[in-house]
Symmetry: C2
Subunit: 175 residues, 2 copies
DNA sequence: GGCAAAGCGGATGATAACGTCCATTATTGT
DNA sequence: ACAATAATGGACGTTATCATCCGCTTTGCC
């Protein structure tokens, strides 16, 4: 009964095997997308572990690659893994305490610009105005991610966002 | 006398031929970095055109690749180009009217998430909570870039940021 | 017209990101 | 002990990004 994620109805699996998030820009890496989907899915069943196959099926992420991403999450201390029958991945902390920034940092860390990227030692701790602006933008991104927990993502607190349900009422019919 | 950019002293050229902005994360693409440096440099001499070689030398960007980036800026309507002797690139609009977001969009557009990346038609115009958060972060980034003009980058209005000068006094000695 | 300066465009190569495959190891159940 | 399950790690293949090179065209100057 667990395993209901916001972007998925528990009816039939939708028919989009492969997908492409950003056609032109690279702002959010594919890997981050995958990690966030996986974590969101795991948050729906914090108690029992989920296998890579289960996660992949639910999140529409290529299985083999997801395995790599999950290992990154393990190394990052986001999830624990258990092998063998009944094994799988489980979130280490409760979704309420897990900020999505932590997931991002585990798989593809946002590197703030602390030093001049041109390598000029003379700049010391001071950034050029340009790179200060860029770093500000990174900070805004960090902030947007650090102020949101997985639990908040799961059940949208503000009721104005209809949780990706079906406004009309009908789930996506496959014909 | 134009050609002074915030991160460079007009003394000797610093000895960092190649550089690497982000070792782990891909948030800002290299191409965007290059484009912003070039635009910042061009803003120091809005009147007369600058050649690729001049820009490359000043911004420490690989010449051959910079040529490609400049072409993207031309196509994006950010700069104009003139061939032949005395030719080069010039900003189309004044630095005061040029938001750095426009430069970003010209070379590597930030694509907002307007539709469910999983391709579920059922979601319609509503985003899942997760992707709504991600899009919010993108919006924050966009906003950070759209509220800054090139002119503001060039001469930092707030005097607290010392414009990448040398605090101690000495430029980077090469030994 | 001829020559040099400079951008333009296509072809090619290097490196990292993305993705797959398979053997190995750990765990559970019989 | 044996077999089935599931994560782990390494090798490999594919694709996009970053980067270089070279021939072509346009422009200005003599």
């Amino acid at each position: 009964m667990a395993g209901r994620i916001p972007w998925q109805s528990d009816g039939e699996p939708p028919a989009c095997p492969r997908l492409l998030l950003h056609s032109g820009a690279t702002l959010l890496s594919q890997t981050v997308e995958y990690a966030l989907r996986a974590a969101t899915y795991l948050a729906t069943s914090p108690d029992e572990p989920r296998t890579v196959d289960q996660i992949a099926e639910a999140t529409l992420v290529p299985v083999a690659y997801l395995a790599k991403v999950m290992q990154a999450l393990v190394r990052g201390g986001i999830v624990t893994s258990r092998r063998g029958v009944g094994g799988g991945f489980t979130l280490v902390r409760s979704p309420r305490e897990l900020r999505i920034l932590e997931i991002v940092q585990a798989v593809d860390p946002i590197q703030r610009i602390t030093t001049c990227p041109l390598g000029l030692a003379s700049h010391g701790t001071n950034l050029c105005p340009l790179h200060r602006r860029l770093d500000n933008a990174l900070a805004a991104m960090e902030d947007a991610f650090s102020t949101t927990t997985l639990a908040e993502v799961l059940s949208e607190p503000s009721s104005s966002v209809p949780l990706c349900g079906f406004p009309g009422g009908k789930p996506a019919k496959s014909r």
